[in-house]
């Protein structure tokens, strides 16, 4: 069994409220996985744990080979180890150009003095151009990111994720607020990314999840309620009760 990320028996309590409850979860090296579940199920908190933002009370989070615990690593160390994250709310650096946003994300030396002396090489410029092309922002490279439309910001953020060249991508509600056409483009992006790495997508929109055509994990009250193909989990009576039936 060669899993890239293994979460085992993880629990998190916020002021007595158990947001994550004995959660266990695994994802393979090149796999696309959708996570669905009602509001407050703990989907975002799960990502917070993996990326080091929230420390669990108990449990194990191992990543990579040989497996290393993420629990002792800082956010930036985890990111450098190859875990990229897209937030629920698009967060790009609005005052900086699309190019600068992508350049900052590009996989390169991240130490302060290294960055101070760094100047973009031809290959970096080309890579940024390719990424912009891929996420459909080639014509917007010099615009401030704050001027972009909502959907474009989401793509820029996905572009920044790809620029980091991560081995595991955690994507929180990428299609929120997108038009139908934009959603299709986003689906394509994620599917292509998952060919060479692991991608975990949190999404509420069932149509979007169907188009991803991947294994689905249903979270409820901080633990896994069901797992399998979309048809399999949507036929599950528990899932219908807590999520679909409402």
């Amino acid at each position: 069994m060669s899993s890239l990320l293994e979460v085992a028996g993880v629990s998190v309590t916020f002021d007595g409220f158990r947001a994550i409850n004995d959660l266990s979860f695994e994802i393979g090296r090149a796999e696309l996985r959708a996570i669905i579940g009602p509001n407050g199920a703990g989907k975002t908190t799960f990502m917070d744990i993996v990326t080091g933002k929230t420390r669990p009370d108990e449990g194990r989070v191992d990543y990579g080979e040989p497996p290393r615990s993420l629990l002792r690593m800082s956010e930036s160390e985890i990111a450098r180890a190859g875990i990229g994250r897209k937030f629920q709310r698009p967060t790009v650096f609005e005052q900086q150009s699309v190019r600068d946003n992508l350049m900052m994300a590009l996989k390169n030396d991240r130490s302060p003095f290294g960055v101070m002396a760094w100047r973009a090489a031809r290959t970096d410029i080309d890579k940024v151009a390719d990424l912009a092309e891929e996420v459909g922002l080639a014509d917007h490279l010099d615009r401030p990111a704050g001027e972009l439309a909502h959907g474009q910001k989401q793509w820029l953020e996905i572009g920044m994720l790809l620029a980091q060249d991560p081995r595991l991508l955690l994507v929180d509600e990428p299609a929120a607020g997108m038009t139908l056409g934009e959603r299709e483009h986003t689906t394509e992006l994620l599917k292509r990314a998952a060919e060479t790495r692991a991608v975990v997508v949190v999404e509420h929109d069932m149509e979007f999840v169907r188009r991803l055509g991947c294994k689905v994990t249903v979270l409820h009250e901080g633990s896994v309620l069901a797992e399998g193909s979309l048809d399999h989990v949507t036929a599950n009576q528990d899932v219908i009760d807590v999520y679909l039936g409402r």
């Binding site: 650096f93 900086q96 600068d100 101070m116």
Partner: protein, 409 residues
């Protein structure tokens, strides 16, 4: 070669350096020491000191305007820089006086006698004659200059490491920096701090080894030194924020969590910026106090660092020339108002004395800028330049500008 392309890509830096050179040469031509004598030596000193304040304002802009750390303690570093150079100035000056006095006696003085005499000369006011251990290197200009950089730098490094590591941010960090500068100033106020308590260090305008030069000449030398430091500081700061480092630092200001998830060690970046700016502040202080002639613990009272933030806010955060405009304007106007040159306004029942009312005016100006020019005075310059350009040339097509930018990068 790198520097040349850097300057070409940032014409505003060249404009600034040119203006600074013009200003310095102009002031020299008008000075008493080297020119026609149209401006007094004390005004030359005021101008030189203003340049030093502009330099610390650049440091403040880097740490606050670019990195988002509202440090209200950078005057502590400025003052420490002043104290470090002041120790050498005062020690060597006292030594030459003492040697002269003792030289009148028949036997040549022993080194111990000289040390004792220096000790009682300098520390008599605080009731001592021992030279404290921290004056160990006071006879070495090289070491004291090194301390100008090392002492503020190390204090900033230790303070910043503790504060940033515990993720203290925002108003809590501001309060912590205020506490730091307050603690330092209270400590220095004590007579046994080894730095002459509230008397501070004085006579700093007398440069050892330059006794036969008049202040008319020395003041111009310091004006040039301050101008060089400001020019170099501006260049360095502009270089630092022009590349990816500047983008990361601005990113930390706007959303530090996001920068972390990109894999950057935010705390390390903050520490670098905090320490580098503390060193710049120390250098500015080391050039300022020989022109002021005296330094005492009141100089690093918490309010001084708050003024610094006000200058930068008025001038415009996040643009280097904004910081310079703010510091120069406010400190010069402040000198003018508090020097008694502005006639008081008698209202019959009350007289407006500008020495007191100047602060009200400053506060009012601050409110006006905040309300009507939130980008500061530097922001108005930006808007002006943009307007000019828009009138002069039609906006370039997106394809063109993309081409240009990729050439530039």
């Amino acid at each position: 070669m790198i520097e040349r392309t850097f300057l070409l890509r940032h014409p505003s830096v060249m404009v600034f350096i040119a203006l600074l050179a013009l200003f310095t040469v102009g002031a020299t031509i008008l000075s008493e020491g080297f020119g026609v004598g149209l401006i007094s030596t004390s005004f030359v000193k005021t101008l030189g000191k203003t340049l030093c304040l502009c330099l610390i304002a650049i440091a403040m802009d880097l740490v606050w305007g670019y990195c988002g750390i509202l440090s209200l303690g950078h005057f502590a570093f400025f003052g420490l820089g002043g104290y470090m150079i002041g120790m050498w100035l005062m020690y060597e000056r006292t030594k030459s006086i003492v040697v002269e006095q003792l030289g009148a006696a028949q036997l040549p003085p022993t080194p111990e006698e000289v040390r004792e005499a220096i000790g009682s000369q300098i520390f008599g006011v605080v009731g001592g004659s021992e030279i404290p251990a921290i004056w160990m290197f006071a006879d070495s200009l090289i070491i004291q200059i090194a301390l100008v950089v090392l002492v503020p730098g190390l204090l900033a490094l230790v303070f910043g490491w503790l504060a940033f590591r515990s993720r203290v941010t925002g108003v809590y960090l501001s309060i912590l920096t205020q506490a730091m500068t307050l603690a330092l100033s209270l400590y220095l106020f004590q007579n046994d701090s080894g730095l002459r308590g509230n008397n501070g260090l004085s006579g700093l305008q007398n440069i050892p080894g330059a006794e036969n030069l008049s202040q008319d000449v020395i003041s111009v030398w310091f004006l040039w030194a301050s101008a060089f430091a400001l020019g170099a500081g501006y260049l360095f700061a502009a270089w630092m924020v022009s590349g990816k480092f500047g983008n990361v630092v601005r990113g930390i200001r706007d959303d530090e969590a996001r920068v972390r998830f990109l894999g950057y060690n935010v705390e390390a970046y903050k520490l670098v910026v905090f320490t580098v700016t503390a060193v710049i502040a120390g250098i500015a202080g080391a050039l300022y106090y020989p022109q002021a002639g005296i330094i005492n613990p009141a100089e690093i009272a918490p309010i001084a660092s708050i003024y610094l933030a006000v200058w930068v806010a008025i001038g415009g955060r996040g643009r280097l020339y904004g910081a310079v405009i703010g510091a120069a304007l406010v400190s010069l106007v402040s000198t003018w108002f508090t020097s008694g040159q502005v006639p008081d306004i008698p209202l019959g029942f009350y007289t407006i004395e500008w020495v007191d009312w100047w602060l009200v005016l400053l506060g009012f100006g601050f409110v006006l800028v905040t309300l009507f020019a939130p980008q500061g005075l530097g922001g108005l310059v930006d808007a002006l330049v943009r307007n000019r350009q828009a009138i002069a040339a039609p906006p370039p097509t997106p394809a063109k500008s993309a081409e240009k930018a990729s050439e530039a990068a």
